[in-house]
C-alpha cells in the first residue's frame, strides 16, 4: 500500500514567485493535514482537511498561503508570492477517522 506522497521533494524559487506543493494521502483517509518546519524551529500545524472541507486552518500564517483539496483526494498548498521566511520543510499527513497520522517525506522549500 502506498504511503503519503509529496511532490516535489525539493523546490528552489526566488522571492516573489509562486510555488505549489502537492500531497497525495493514503487512499481512503478522510483526514489530511499540512505542517511546516522552519529551520531551527519546531514542526507547526498549518491546517486540517476532512474530505474536501477545511476543518481547522488556525495555523495558516497569512493569506499568501492557499490550501485546497479538490474532491477530497489530493491536496495542494500554494504560496503566492513566496517570501524568504517561507523557507522550510512542508509535511503532509493523513489519517483515517480516529486513527494515527501517517506523514509524507516532506517538501524542502528554499526561497532565495
Amino acid at each position: 500500500e502506498a504511503g503519503v506522497t509529496q511532490f516535489p521533494s525539493h523546490s528552489v524559487i526566488e522571492k516573489g514567485q509562486t510555488v505549489t506543493l502537492r500531497c497525495d494521502p493514503i487512499s481512503g483517509h478522510d483526514n489530511l493535514y499540512w505542517y511546516r518546519r522552519v529551520m531551527g524551529k519546531e514542526i507547526k500545524f498549518l491546517l486540517h482537511f476532512v474530505k474536501e472541507s477545511k476543518q481547522d486552518e488556525s495555523g495558516m500564517p497569512n493569506n499568501r498561503f492557499l490550501a485546497e483539496r479538490t474532491g477530497g483526494t489530493y491536496s495542494t498548498l500554494k504560496v503566492q508570492p513566496a517570501e524568504l521566511e517561507d523557507s522550510g520543510v512542508y509535511f503532509c499527513a493523513s489519517s483515517a477517522v480516529g486513527e494515527k497520522l501517517f506523514f509524507g517525506s516532506g517538501t524542502q522549500l528554499s526561497v532565495l
Binding site: 519546531e42 500545524f45 509535511f91
Partner: protein, 113 residues
Amino acid sequence: TQLLEQSPQFLSIQEGENLTVYCNSSSVFSSLQWYRQEPGEGPVLLVTVVTGGEVKKLKRLTFQFGDARKDSSLHITAAQPGDTGLYLCAGAQYGGSQGNLIFGKGTKLSVKP
C-alpha cells in the same frame, strides 16, 4: 501560546548505554505522542499516551505521561545504533482538531557502535 520544551537537544552515546529524553510544558494536553524521524523522511508515530501517569513499553523503549499531563519522558534501555534518529514529542490540545499538535523541537540521538 503552548510550548513543548524537549531536552536534551542532542545526545551522543555508546551502544549499550541507557538514555532518557524529556518533554515538558506548562500546559495540559489531552494526549501526547512520540515520533521518530529519519533523515529525508517524515515522522513515524511510536506511541500515544492518554492517561495521566500512564506508562507504555515498546521493546526497549519506555514512555511515561506525567500525572498532571504536562510532561512526558522516553527512556531507551541498552541503546543500539538502529535507535539513531530524531525523536519528537507532540501534544494534542483539549478541544483542538485531531492533528492540531504542538511539537517539541526534537532530540537528535546518535548511538555509536
